[in-house]
């Protein structure tokens, strides 16, 4: 079935005419040159235009390439359009953290390579005509880790959803809490979960989309608290990272452990949805959830 069947508008035609955006750091490694990309899963050489038309999913094996926060918004929201908010909030390095590298330098490097101020962007837009607040995480910004800024921005997204009485969508891609902001990072889990408790009490819809990879404190807070917890195929999702578990049990993990399909089988996800079907799937559920007689 053509991807267009799942899309309400003309968005895909418009997008084709745009120049192909530079892929974030993570994905650039697999590019052989500017025109072709090698699939890390099946090894196919894919024409970039074909890859872009196929939602950055390998047309041969269905491998879902990691995508950045802006690209995610473009793919998810009507006409690829969105209005960003809270974009100016930046880390103040509250712990003045130094390891072998300076934390401030790490942030600067990530800002340069991603063009973003932090590991999440928040925006308002529409999904199949439903006005929504959407937050999308950027894995290539210090592993999508959550410090004070990510915590604050996601809380602001929850609060905007509460104020405007419109659904919230959060797309996660994160290694968890950001070590370099210590316990302040940890407490962002509590802050966001507390805000989500208000959203839940107000009966507003929250769709959590977990993408590859989502682990640690992000999974153990907002990513698992959706009215719907959805995931893209084969995404790594868990609390402890696979390496930590392997060190604990001193064994290789079984094939497919902590992947979307494993979580679905064990009852932790509502559905595993292909990237091309996300708009239709979420859109239909927004119709279902945009109805609360008690609200």
């Amino acid at each position: 079935m053509s991807p267009l069947r799942y899309d309400g508008g003309m968005a895909w035609f418009k997008r084709e005419k745009r120049p192909f955006r530079a892929l974030p750091e993570e994905d650039r490694r697999v590019r052989t040159e500017g025109v072709f990309t090698k699939c890390p899963d099946c090894g196919s050489i894919i024409w970039n235009k074909e890859l872009a038309e196929n939602f950055l999913v390998c047309p041969r094996c269905g491998h879902h390439f990691k995508i950045g926060a802006r690209k995610r918004m473009e793919l998810l929201l009507d006409d690829g359009e969105f209005e960003e908010f809270a974009a100016g909030i930046r880390s103040s390095d509250p712990l003045e953290f130094e390891d072998r590298k300076n934390y401030r330098d790490r942030i600067e490097a990530s800002r340069r390579s991603t063009g973003l101020n932090e590991a999440v962007i928040c925006a308002e837009g529409s999904l199949r005509g439903h006005r929504v607040v959407c937050a999308a995480m950027e894995y290539s910004f210090i592993g999508g880790s959550m410090g004070s800024v990510v915590g604050e921005k996601i809380t602001l997204a929850v609060e905007r959803s509460l104020e405007r009485k419109i659904p919230l969508i959060i797309v996660s891609a994160s290694g968890g809490a950001r070590m370099m902001e210590g316990v302040l990072s940890l407490m962002q889990m509590a802050k966001i979960s507390s805000a989500l408790s208000r959203l839940d009490r107000e009966g507003l819809p929250y769709v959590s989309l977990l993408t590859d990879p989502t682990t640690g404190g992000v999974t153990a807070s907002f990513a698992m608290l959706g009215d719907l917890n959805l995931a893209e195929p084969k995404a790594l999702i868990g609390f402890a990272g696979p390496r930590v578990i392997e060190q604990t049990i001193r064994q290789r993990l079984p094939e497919g452990f902590q992947r979307s399909e494993f979580l679905l089988e064990h009852g932790m996800l509502d559905a595993v949805v292909q990237r091309k079907d996300l708009r239709a799937f979420i859109g239909d559920w927004l119709v279902f959830m945009d109805h609360a007689p008690s609200r």
């Binding site: 930046r90 712990l95 407490m187 049990i249 001193r250």
Partner: protein
């Protein structure tokens, strides 16, 4: 999936859990100093050592001294009873309260039984069940934190460790009864926070609260185990650091050298602090209490805005 394949996976999993159990057993038999690594002059690292001291009062030791009675109940009513978390009703200065917390073991047998105080999802679900029970009957909840972290194992992942922690956080944010959390020893990341979203947070003077252990931090950022002192210092994990960040409401003084030197003195100071905070928090209407609990966490975090 064929039945044979499924059985193979199950038995493989059993083998893995068994190996991990044996490894824990080996660790438990090593002397404490060897496990903790060499001591050092770093102030934060010293605190880490004291917070993990083998003679430090654990949760049940504190229950013995803080409460007139403790009637333990078990299980999450879904899967199992996790012995890394204990809880039940108790009488605090004549009034019924729900009390729960992480429990470590003091000898090899106990350490294994308590899984080093590292809960699995069923532990967090048991904790929430007890909190909901307290809410139903309008009783305050006192939680006690002392854990290296949530258990990173196969079964724990399969049964939804992340979901259990997340669901506790959201539920505690909306709990109608007073909630006070006390960090007794180690506040190990999400595994500690999962019973720590409270109206007030108290910390014993030498307890720690951190997003990651200094050992893991050293391994990840310095790529070796030799920088635990620097890591402990950088992570700002002491009670004093947390008070500066506005996370901790009161630091409870310990006897000279640490709580292990005098359990009674430690718990009588804690008892006074608990009773004062409980009185203040109990004076609020449930709705106001939930709002001020939210405000407490809403304010946490430091960042800059572009002008």
């Amino acid at each position: 999936m064929t039945i044979e394949k499924a059985q193979k996976i199950v038995s493989l999993e059993d083998q893995m859990e068994e190996r991990s159990r044996l490894r824990l057993q080996e660790q438990a038999q090593q002397p404490d100093e060897q496990r903790a690594g060499p001591s050092s002059p770093g102030a934060a690292w010293d605190r880490v050592q004291i917070s993990r001291h083998q003679d430090r009062p654990y949760t049940l030791d504190c229950f013995d001294r803080l409460f007139d009675s403790f009637r333990e109940i078990h299980g999450d009513r879904k899967y199992a009873d996790d012995r890394a978390i204990v809880g039940g009703m108790a009488s605090f200065k004549g009034a019924p309260v729900m009390v729960l917390g992480h429990q470590k073991g003091r000898n090899t047998k106990e350490r294994l039984e308590r899984n080093y105080g590292m809960p699995k999802p069923e532990g967090y679900r048991k904790a929430l069940r007890l909190m909901k029970l307290a809410e139903k009957f309008g009783r305050p909840v006192l939680t006690f934190i002392d854990t290296p972290g949530a258990y990173p194992g196969l079964g724990a992942e399969k049964r939804g460790q992340a979901e259990a922690i997340a669901y506790n956080l959201r539920s505690m944010a909306g709990l109608r009864v007073p909630l006070i959390a006390t960090v007794l020893g180690e506040g190990g990341s999400g595994g500690a926070l999962a019973v720590g979203l409270a109206d007030r947070i108290l910390m014993l003077e030498n307890s720690i609260y951190s997003v990651i252990s200094p050992e893991s931090c050293s391994a990840i950022l310095w790529k070796d185990q030799n920088h635990v002192r620097e890591a402990a210092q950088s992570l700002k994990l002491t009670a004093q650091d947390l008070q500066r960040f506005g996370i901790v409401d009161e630091i409870v003084a310990e006897p000279p050298g640490g709580a292990h030197n005098d359990w009674d003195q430690t718990t009588s100071a804690l008892s006074r602090a608990l009773s004062r905070h409980l009185e203040e928090v109990s004076a609020l209407d449930p709705e106001d209490r939930i709002d001020s609990r939210h405000e407490k966490f809403r304010k946490i975090g430091e960042y800059a805005s572009r002008v």
